[in-house]
Symmetry: D2
Subunit: 193 residues, 4 copies
C-alpha cells in the first residue's frame, strides 16, 4: 500500500487550486500522522491532503473543513474515487467550524482566510502535546502572520519553517527544460505544553 | 509508527555528505516502496535513505551498496541506533557490487560514480515491471547523463524529473531569514517492460 | 568603462555582510540611476552598492549612511581602492542621519533596522517624482513590513517586488554542482506624487 | 540615460519567447560591454538583448543573428520603437551566419540550435583576449554541452556559471503571492588567449 504520493493528475480538481504533489508529500510527512490519529485539514480545497491523510490515518479520522461549496463537492468526489470513508467534511470556516469537533493529533492548515490567530488559539486547545500543526503559506502576509503568532507563543509551540521551490523538467523535442512551480512556505509547529 | 521523515540531526553522520530530510522524504515517497519490497540503495552514504526505506519495507529488505569504508561504518552505526535489522550492507561499487543480489522492487541511486549507464542496464534487468528507480543528481553532468540514458531507453523506462530547492528559515533575533540548501534534481524512472 | 558588475572578490569586505554581485546588479539597474543623480544608500555595509552607484552617478553624489564603525571604515577603504570620490559617508542611523541631506533622485535601502516606516516617510519627502526606492529584504519581517507600508501608501508609491535566488556552479573534479546563495526579496517603489 | 533595465512590457514581442528583464540585466552586465564595442547577439529572438546592448555600445555595433523570420521582424520593429540604429540584423543560423562579420569584443548566445561547439570555436577566433561570451541556457542539454565544451577548452576560456530563479510577487487582494519564472543558467566564459 502506498501511504502518500498520489499523482496530481489522479485527483478530480475542477478549478479549485490544489496543493502540488511534492508539497503534499512534505506536508503530510512533516505532520507525522499515525494510523489511529484524528486530523484536522483546515481549508481542505479539493481534498487532496485529506485523502492522503485519511489513508495514513486509516484507523482514525480526518475532518476536512472547507467553506467553498465547489471544494466540498470535490472532496466528496475524491472520497468516492479513492474509496476513502474516514473523512468527515465540515462545511464552514475555521475557527467557527471547529466548534463541535473532537480533540486532535495533527492539524494541517492550507487556508485560513484572515483568522489565523484565532484558529491557532483553538488548535492549541485541541491538539495533544507533541502534536504538529503544518501550515502551507503561499503569501508573504500569511507566512509573516504565522511567524508573528509563533514567536508570540514560544511557550506553547516550537516551530521550524522552510520555503520549497520545485521546477518540473518538461521534455520539448530533444531537450528537457525547467517549468517552475510557485514556491511555498511550509511551517511546522509542535505543541510543547 | 512514522514511515519516513526522521530529522537530519538524529542520524549519525561523520563527515559523509547526507541527503537532507526534504529530499529524503520526496525520494522515498516517489519510490513507492511497499512493506515486503526488496530495495537497492546505491551509493548509500550515511545510510539515511536505507534506514527509512527499511522501516517502510519492514517485511522486505534493503541492500545498501557503498564503496567508502567511512560510509559503511556509519550505515552500521545508524542501523544500531534506529534498531533496523533488514538492511544488508554491500561493500563495493555498482554495478559490480550488484552481482549476487536478488531481483528488486525499487531502486534508489544517490551516487553512481561514472558508471550510471552500466548501473541502469543492470537495474533494468533486476527491477520488476512497474518498479521505480529514483535518482538524486547534484551535478549537471549526472542529471545530463541520466536524461540521456532515459531518452535512449524510452522503450524500457518512462521518466519524470524535478529540481527541488529548499530554504530553511533561521531565527536571528526578531527576524526569520532564509538559509539556502543546495538544490538537487530528483529523477523518477518507471520500468515499462 | 564598466558601469556595474564588479566581482565580489574585488571589494574589501572584513566580516561585514555584503550584497552579492547579482543582487547588486539588479538593485542598481532597477534604481535607474542617472549620471548626475543624488543617491542615498541606507545601510551601506561594506559600501559595495555605494561604490557602483557612485560610478554610475559620476557627476552626482552618493550618501552612504551606515551606523556600524566597521562598515564605515570599509566604505572608506573601498573608496580608496576603487578611486571613487563622490561618496559622502554619513555615520549614523536612518531616519535621523538623513536630517541634513539634500533631496535625492534614487534611494537604496539595504538595512533599515526597525525604522522602515519612518525612513520611507522621509524618503518620500526627499525623493523626486518618478524616483525609485529599491529595498533589499532578507527577512520575512522586512519584506512583510515593506509591503504593508507600500499597500498603505498606494497614493504615494507604485511598487513591484521579486524574490531572487542564485545558485553558483562550483567545479569539483569532473563535475559542476550547485552552491546555493541565500535568496533575497528586491522591492522597487516608484514615487507617484 | 538608462543603460539597461527596460521593462519587459515595453518590447514588442509577438509570440517569440523573450529573455526576462532580470536575466537580461545580468546577461548584459556580465558581458561588460563598453561604448565602442562590437557585439554578437546569437539567437537574438525579439531583439530585447540586442536593443539594450546597442544602447550600451552606442559608439559600437551589435550584430543580431536570428534564423526565425518572425524574430527578424520583431527585432526591426523594436529598433524603430527604441530608435536604435547601431544594430545590424543578420538573417541565418550561427555559425554559418557569422561568416562575414568583423571581430568582436563581446558575445551573447541566447540560442544555439545544436551547433554550440562550432559556434564557440568561431567565437573564440573572433573574440578579443579578455572578451566575454555570455550564454543563457534553459535546457539541461545546453548547459551540459556548454560546460563540456568549456572544460575541454580550459586553455582558451575561463568560466563561471550560475542558475538564477526569479519569483515575481503578484498582488491578489490583500495578499502578495509568488509567481515563479522559469530558472535559467547563465554562463560567463572569458577568453584567456
Amino acid at each position: 500500500m502506498i501511504f502518500c504520493g498520489i499523482d496530481d493528475s489522479e485527483f478530480i480538481r475542477g478549478k479549485v487550486p490544489m496543493t502540488k504533489q511534492e508539497v503534499r508529500i512534505l506536508t503530510l510527512t512533516k505532520a507525522r500522522i499515525a494510523p489511529s490519529d484524528i486530523v484536522y485539514d483546515i481549508g481542505a480545497g479539493t481534498g487532496s491532503i485529506s485523502i492522503e491523510a485519511a489513508r495514513i490515518a486509516h484507523e482514525g479520522k480526518v475532518f476536512a473543513i472547507e467553506r467553498n461549496p465547489a471544494g466540498i463537492s470535490l472532496i466528496k468526489e475524491n472520497m468516492k474515487k479513492f474509496q476513502v470513508e474516514n473523512i468527515e467534511v465540515v462545511s464552514g470556516e475555521a475557527p467557527g467550524a471547529l466548534a463541535g469537533l473532537p480533540n486532535c493529533d495533527a492539524v494541517i492548515i492550507g487556508g485560513s482566510g484572515r483568522n489565523l490567530d484565532d484558529i491557532l488559539d483553538i488548535v492549541h486547545e485541541r491538539l495533544k502535546v507533541g502534536g504538529r500543526v503544518i501550515l502551507n503559506c503561499i503569501t508573504i502576509q500569511t507566512i509573516s502572520s504565522c511567524l508573528e503568532y509563533l514567536r508570540a507563543h514560544k511557550d506553547e509551540f516550537d516551530y521550524e519553517a522552510i520555503q520549497v521551490q520545485v521546477n518540473r523538467l518538461k521534455a520539448v523535442g530533444p531537450y528537457d527544460m525547467a517549468d517552475a512551480v510557485n514556491p511555498i512556505y511550509i511551517v511546522t509547529a509542535i505543541k510543547k505544553v
